[in-house]
C-alpha cells in the first residue's frame, strides 16, 4: 500500500508540474487522463474477468451530453457540465447494465460492442441533430464562473482533471479492497461459489458496471470540453478497444496502471505521429505485443515490481 501511495504521489507530482514547463502538453495530458479514466473503468470490469468492447458508448454519451448542454447554453459552466455529463452516462450505464450483467465473457464483450455500435450509427445517422460524422462543436464554457482565455481554461481544466483522477483512483482503490470489490474478483474466480454465499453476481457486476460507466462518462465529459469538439468516432469500437488496450498496457494490478498506460499511449502516439505518421497503429500494436509477452503485468507491474497480490496490495 505504501509503495503504491509513493508511486501515485510521484506520478501526480510529475504530472502536476509538466504543463508549467511545456504549455502545449496541457491538452495532451488532459486527454491522456480522460482516457485513463475510461481505462480505469475497464480495469474495474477486468477485475471481474469481463471485458467491454463498448465503453466508447459511455465516453461518447457524456461527451455529446456536454456538447448539447453547452450548445443549449444550459449550464454553460464547466463545473456544472462535467457532473451533468457524468450523470448522463451514469443513467445510461444504469439502463444498459440491467441487460449486460446477465452475460459473461465474450457475450458480455459482444453485447457491449453491439450497443455502442448502435449508438455510433445513430450519431452518424441523425445528422440534423448530431451533426453526423462531422460532429458538434462545444463552445468553451466558463470555469467556476470565470471566462478564461484558452490557455488558462486548459490549465484549469487540466488541474481539475488531475484532481478528479486522484479522487477517482483513490475511490476505486478503496472499492477494490472492499467486500464489493472482492466479490467482483470472485465473479472471475468462482461465480458459483459466490451464488452459494448468497451474493448476486449480477448485482455485484451491476455496481461495477455503473462505476465503470461513470468513470468513462467523466473522461468523456472532460474531453468534450477540452477539445471543444465531439465526433461519433468517440463511440467507434476501435476507440473502445483502445481503452482495453490502455488498461492492459498499464496493467490492472493497481489503480495507477490505467493512467500510466494512457500516458504511455499518448506519448507513443504523439511520437509515432511525428516520426511515422502512416504507421503509428503498427507501432502501438507492436508495443502492446511486447508488453503482453514480456511484461504481462503491464507498465504498472514493471514499475511497482511483481508483488504478490494480497489483501492490501
Amino acid at each position: 500500500m505504501a509503495r503504491q501511495l509513493v508511486f501515485g504521489l510521484a506520478l501526480t507530482a510529475a504530472l502536476a508540474v509538466f504543463p508549467l514547463f511545456s504549455p502545449w502538453s496541457t491538452v495532451i495530458l488532459t486527454v491522456a487522463l480522460c482516457e485513463g479514466l475510461a481505462a480505469l473503468g475497464i480495469m474495474v470490469l477486468l477485475r471481474a474477468g469481463q471485458v467491454s468492447f463498448g465503453h466508447g458508448l459511455f465516453f461518447s454519451f457524456s461527451a455529446y451530453a456536454v456538447a448539447f448542454l453547452a450548445a443549449a447554453r444550459f449550464g454553460h459552466e464547466a463545473l456544472v457540465l462535467i457532473p451533468l455529463g457524468m450523470a448522463a452516462s451514469g443513467l445510461l450505464a444504469a439502463l444498459v447494465g440491467l441487460f449486460v450483467v446477465r452475460y459473461r465473457a465474450i457475450f458480455f464483450g459482444m453485447l457491449n460492442l453491439a450497443i455502442s455500435m448502435v449508438f455510433f450509427s445513430l450519431l452518424e445517422k441523425l445528422f440534423p441533430i448530431t451533426g453526423g460524422a462531422d460532429g458538434k462543436r462545444v463552445p468553451r464554457p466558463t470555469f467556476a464562473g470565470i471566462e478564461f482565455g484558452r490557455e488558462q481554461f486548459e490549465l484549469a481544466t487540466f488541474y481539475l482533471t488531475l484532481l478528479l483522477c486522484i479522487v477517482a483512483a483513490l475511490f476505486v482503490a478503496r472499492y477494490l479492497l472492499s467486500p464489493g470489490g472482492k466479490a467482483l474478483e470472485a465473479i472471475k474466480s468462482n461465480e458459483t461459489r459466490l451464488e452459494y454465499l448468497g451474493v448476486s453476481p449480477r448485482k455485484v457486476l451491476y455496481g461495477a458496471y455503473l462505476l465503470s460507466g461513470l468513470l468513462a462518462g467523466l473522461g468523456g465529459a472532460i474531453i468534450a470540453l477540452v477539445s471543444g469538439h465531439v465526433t461519433p468516432e468517440l463511440a467507434y469500437w476501435v476507440r473502445s478497444g483502445e481503452f482495453v488496450f490502455i488498461a492492459i498496457l498499464g496493467g490492472i494490478g493497481g489503480v495507477a496502471g490505467p493512467f500510466l498506460g494512457a500516458l504511455m499511449f499518448q506519448i507513443i502516439r504523439g511520437y509515432a505521429a511525428v516520426h511515422a505518421p502512416e504507421t503509428w497503429h503498427a507501432v502501438l500494436g507492436i508495443m502492446l505485443l511486447v508488453i503482453i509477452f514480456f511484461a504481462p503485468a503491464g507498465l504498472y507491474g514493471i514499475v511497482a515490481g511483481r508483488k504478490r497480490e494480497e489483501g492490501g496490495r
Partner: protein
C-alpha cells in the same frame, strides 16, 4: 410497393448475406475450436481482398484469359490464410492459449493494428479494384432488373459450397473429427493421440483463409480502401454472435437474416440499414443469450 420488389430485396440480401457468411463462419470456426475471438480477422479479409485484386490485375496485365481470375481468387485466399494466419497462430497465439481470454483478444487486436498499417504500406491508399471477374460473368435479368451473375449466382454458390464443405470436412474426414474432438474436450482428445497443436494451427489457417476468401470475392465488386477490414469485422462479429459462436450452420442462417434485414431496410426504412445487424444481434442475445443455435452448458459442481 409491388410484390416482386420483395423478391428483388431478397435477392440483394442473399448476395450480401453470402459474403458476410464467408467471413463470419471463419470467425466462428476459430472461436469454436480455439476459444479466441479473432479481431485480426478483419485484416485477413482486407489483405485477402488486396492480394486477390493485385493478382487479378496482374493476370489482366499479362494478357491471360479472364477465367484464370477465379482460380487466382482462391489461390490468393489460401496464400493469405496460410501465410498470415499460420504465422499469427504459430508465433503469437500459440504462446497464450492458457492465458486469460482478454489477453488473447488483445493480442489479436494488436495484430489487427499492425496489419492495418502493413496493408496501407504495401498497397497504398488509393481505391483498388479488379472487376474483371464480375464483368466476365455478365448479367442476369429478373423482372426487368439486371443483376450481375457474380453477385446473384456465384457468391451464394460459393457460400453454399463452403457451408457444405465444412460440414463434410468436420463430420466425415478424420482430421475434421479430430477438430471436433479437440473442441469438445481437449484433454481427452490429446490423450487419444490427437495433436492439438496441429489442430489449432490448421483450424486457424482455415478460418483465416475463409476471411481472405470473402475479401477475394469482394474485390471484384468493391473498391478496396483503408479501413474496409474494421467495418467487415464488426459485421461478422454480429453474425457470429447472433448465431452462437462456434455454430457453422447458425452462421449461415444469421448471415442470411442480417443480409435480408439490411436490404429490406433499404426499401422500407433506408435510415435504419446500418442499425439492422446490431439490432438483430441485440434482440437475439437478449432473448437467447447464448445465440440462436447454441445450447446452454451447465458447469459441473
Amino acid at each position: 410497393m409491388p410484390p416482386e420488389m420483395l423478391l428483388l430485396a431478397a435477392l440483394d440480401g442473399l448476395a450480401y448475406g453470402s459474403l458476410i457468411f464467408l467471413v463470419a463462419v471463419g470467425l466462428s470456426l476459430i472461436f469454436g475450436v480455439l476459444g479466441i475471438v479473432n479481431v485480426a480477422h478483419g485484416s485477413f479479409y482486407a489483405i485477402g481482398a488486396y492480394v486477390a485484386a493485385a493478382s487479378v490485375l496482374a493476370l489482366g496485365a499479362a494478357g491471360l484469359p479472364t477465367w484464370l481470375a477465379f482460380p487466382a481468387l482462391l489461390a490468393s485466399a489460401a496464400l493469405v490464410g496460410i501465410l498470415l494466419g499460420g504465422l499469427t497462430e504459430a508465433l503469437l497465439l500459440r504462446r497464450i492459449y492458457g492465458k486469460e481470454e482478454v489477453l488473447q483478444l488483445i493480442v489479436t487486436f494488436a495484430v489487427f493494428m499492425i496489419l492495418e498499417d502493413a496493408q496501407k504500406v504495401v498497397f497504398g491508399v488509393q481505391p483498388y479494384f479488379a472487376n474483371a471477374p464480375m464483368n466476365w460473368l455478365g448479367t442476369v435479368e429478373v423482372f426487368g432488373i439486371f443483376y450481375t451473375g457474380y453477385q446473384l449466382i456465384l457468391m451464394p454458390l460459393v457460400a453454399l459450397a463452403v457451408l457444405l464443405g465444412l460440414r463434410f470436412f468436420l463430420r466425415r474426414t478424420s482430421f475434421g473429427r479430430a477438430i471436433v474432438a479437440v473442441t469438445q474436450d481437449r484433454e481427452a482428445a490429446t490423450a487419444m493421440g490427437i495433436d492439438a497443436t496441429r489442430v489449432y494451427l490448421i483450424t486457424f489457417i482455415i478460418g483465416a483463409s475463409l476471411a481472405a476468401l470473402g475479401g477475394a470475392l469482394a474485390s471484384a465488386t468493391t473498391s478496396l480502401t483503408p479501413g474496409i477490414g474494421a467495418g467487415t469485422l464488426v459485421l461478422s462479429f454480429a453474425v457470429a454472435a447472433t448465431a452462437g459462436l462456434g455454430r457453422i450452420e447458425g452462421a449461415a442462417v444469421a448471415a442470411l437474416l442480417i443480409g435480408l434485414g439490411r436490404s429490406a431496410a433499404v426499401y422500407f426504412a433506408p435510415e435504419f440499414d446500418v442499425l439492422i445487424p446490431y439490432l438483430i444481434m441485440m434482440v437475439v442475445l437478449l432473448i437467447r443469450p447464448q445465440g440462436l443455435f447454441s445450447t446452454v452448458q451447465t458447469r459441473k459442481v
